[in-house]
């Protein structure tokens, strides 16, 4: 370490404006990775908001249906009643579910849940959470998007429903969440007594074991809340993995180009000084290390800038567009730091070669 770090740092810090531009450029490239990762993570978080918060340990669905997102499920009335009579079941609450377009002039896509006893909103920020016939509870972001408040009316399922409450923590970039009275939903959708899903509370026993037993005995798909949420996340993940990976690769390549041009520019500006170092006996290996340290310092500072900016985005973006969240996780930071280290090492390669070719005798020719 002795001696080389100060040289690397002095090289960088002597021209603060250049350093600021380089750090900014690398920071923006890393921000792209962090922001994309954060938006994606927030989508995954929010996509499981309903199963995570509805309260029941088990969720039963039509056989072969294991998610709400991108699915529809129908359970006949008799199957619901049989489940309600099962001695292992303390309480079984049917819910109706559909993805619908709310509003007429202004529109928003929303998951609409029809519920009776359980499965309603878990956080109410205004009004009340239990809609009666002809009433609806909207998540607050969807209400904002549609310009609605408690007391407004919204067109859904062929009727004008009155907004009686606003729910928090339910909307995602993909959809909002709305809650209506079960019978209102059933009448409008013509469900003829069938339910979409059944939320199941148990008398006792391990949730996983009882889920398997109920699945076997009732010819339904019965999952624990955790399994259900895991499947929801998996569907989104399977759909978007290729796209997200592609975007991350673009972020890394752009970051690499920015870091390379920054480090190269900073190195070339100091070729004379490198020649002096060579003239006084510094081996190429040490010069490589010097350039690599410069690269690493620039990229580390860029990572710091990216982390600061993504924190600003995490706060600011939902204020501008309430349906979009940016979630910064330790895993995401670790992945970005890994990408940053890769960028730093590769970006140092080109200027290091240039330094290796510097002729020490050039010092005496000036």
């Amino acid at each position: 370490m002795s001696g080389t770090v100060p040289i690397a740092w002095r090289n960088l810090s002597r021209q603060r404006l250049r350093l600021a531009l380089s750090v900014g450029g690398v920071g923006m490239a890393l921000l792209m990775i962090l922001a994309l990762d954060g938006i994606y993570a927030a989508i995954l978080d929010r996509v499981t908001a309903y199963p995570d918060n509805q309260g029941a340990p088990l969720i039963a669905s039509q056989r072969g249906v294991s998610t709400m997102h991108m699915s529809s499920s129908t359970i006949p009335r008799r199957a619901v009643e049989r489940l309600q009579r099962d001695p292992r079941v303390d309480r079984a609450e049917p819910i109706l579910y559909s993805t619908l377009l709310l509003g007429r002039e202004r529109q928003a896509v929303s998951y609409v849940i029809g519920f009776r006893g359980g499965g309603g909103p878990w956080e109410i920020v205004d009004g009340r959470g239990r809609p009666r016939a002809g009433e609806i509870v909207l998540d607050e972001r969807t209400a904002n998007r549609l310009g609605l408040r408690v007391g407004s009316r919204v067109g859904v399922l062929g009727s004008d429903l009155r907004v009686v409450g606003l729910a928090g923590g339910a909307a995602s970039v993909l959809t909002g969440l709305a809650f209506v009275d079960y019978d209102t939903f059933a009448r409008a959708a013509g469900t003829r007594g069938s339910a979409s899903y059944v939320l199941v509370w148990l008398r006792s026993g391990d949730a996983g074991d009882v889920a398997r037993a109920l699945e076997r005995d009732h010819q339904l798909t019965v999952q624990t809340r955790e399994q259900f949420s895991g499947n929801e996340r998996q569907v989104i993940s399977d759909m978007s993995t290729g796209l997200i990976r592609g975007m991350l690769m673009i972020g890394i390549v752009v970051g690499l180009a920015v870091a390379a041009v920054s480090i190269y520019t900073a190195t070339v500006a100091r070729l004379g000084e490198y020649a002096v170092l060579k003239a006084i006996g510094m081996p190429n290996r040490t010069l490589y290390a010097l350039v690599s340290r410069q690269s690493l310092l620039t990229v580390l500072a860029g990572l710091g800038v990216a982390l600061a900016l993504v924190t600003v985005l995490a706060v600011g973006v939902p204020l501008l567009e309430p349906s979009v969240n940016v979630a910064v996780s330790a895993g995401s930071v670790a992945r970005t730091a890994g990408a940053a280290a890769l960028i730093a090492l590769l970006a140092a390669f080109v200027p290091a070669r240039r330094v290796a070719r510097v002729d020490p005798a050039s010092v005496y020719r000036r």
Binding site: V65, V253, T265
Partner: protein
Amino acid sequence: MAARTHALGGRPGGRLVPLARRQLLHEPLKLGLALAGVTLAVALVGLLFGLREGIRQQVTTFVDNAGAEVYVAPRDSRSFVTGGPPALPASLARELERQPGVEQTGPIVSSEAILRLHDQRVATQLVGFEPGRLGSPWKLAAGRAPARSGEIAVDRVMAKAHGLEPGGTVMLRGRRLRVVGLTDRTASWMTPLVFVTRRDAAAMQGAPESAGFVLVRGDGRSTDRLAAGLQKRFPHLNVMTRAELAANDRALMSRSFNAPLLVMVLIALAIGALVIAITTYGFVSERRREFGSLKAIGARNGRLYRVVSGQALAIAVLALAAGVALGQAAAAAIEALWPKFLFVSLPSHYLLVVAAALVMGLVGALVPARVLARLDPGEVFRR
């Protein structure tokens, strides 16, 4: 140097030395790296806009190709992708067929559905249609369209990705269905289309005699008049032209993608501007003495700004051309490797990318321009 200073002194008619170009070309590696950075930023902006338009177009694949001019839906159902439960009687199709101006109809059920393929869950848009009527698959790559219960036709691209062929089986909502055909031009990144009979799709939703939409084809007269006439006769339903329904679906999709897209585009623009700033600043800071000499012999700031701005814009324009080409090549490569993705470039996208490159160039020139403005001509005599 003499010629350079004379020209840059700014007397009209003086021989101009292409200082901006010489500086740019003096360090080809640096220029190459800068071009690479800005090119990637431009390509990324183009790819993002192309992907957004591709998703918008894919979301209306069924509506664009099913052959119907008018869609009849329950009241408040205004989107094909979020049509809601099948709340119409399937018999409505026959009633509509008897209306003046109507030539052909087809009741369909549409819903999102997840196919279990190997260990993967694949989200699809399930269409239930009546064989021989509107709503049937419009192009088959292999096999035939489903004709009876228990049969399914799946999108060709999805089938290839999962090793499905006619004769195979898939599980859908607990039912095992036999693949009888592969459909063409039905791919989508989000939800490729799969087709079963209407009765099967409706039965899966517990209402075998229902439909979500009735597709209507007119007898050649005005689509708008046909839709208006049907709306008048069926006021409790929602009657939409194909264009209206497609516009609704595209608007819904755009809304979901606009905010994340804007964040990514702004970041890409900032990256491009910073790369240009780093590069042009490098030219200025490495040649402080030369610029100082020019100022000392009378070159005005305006002339020097033009040199720097010219460099910045040259990088931006070169990167624009390279970025557009790279974006197109990358889109073509992605489509070839993963055909479920569609990138569509519109003329407006090119305008946006050109504007983006110019913004990057001009913003990138600001920093070195400030340095030049503060440059002390006396500096040249102090070393």
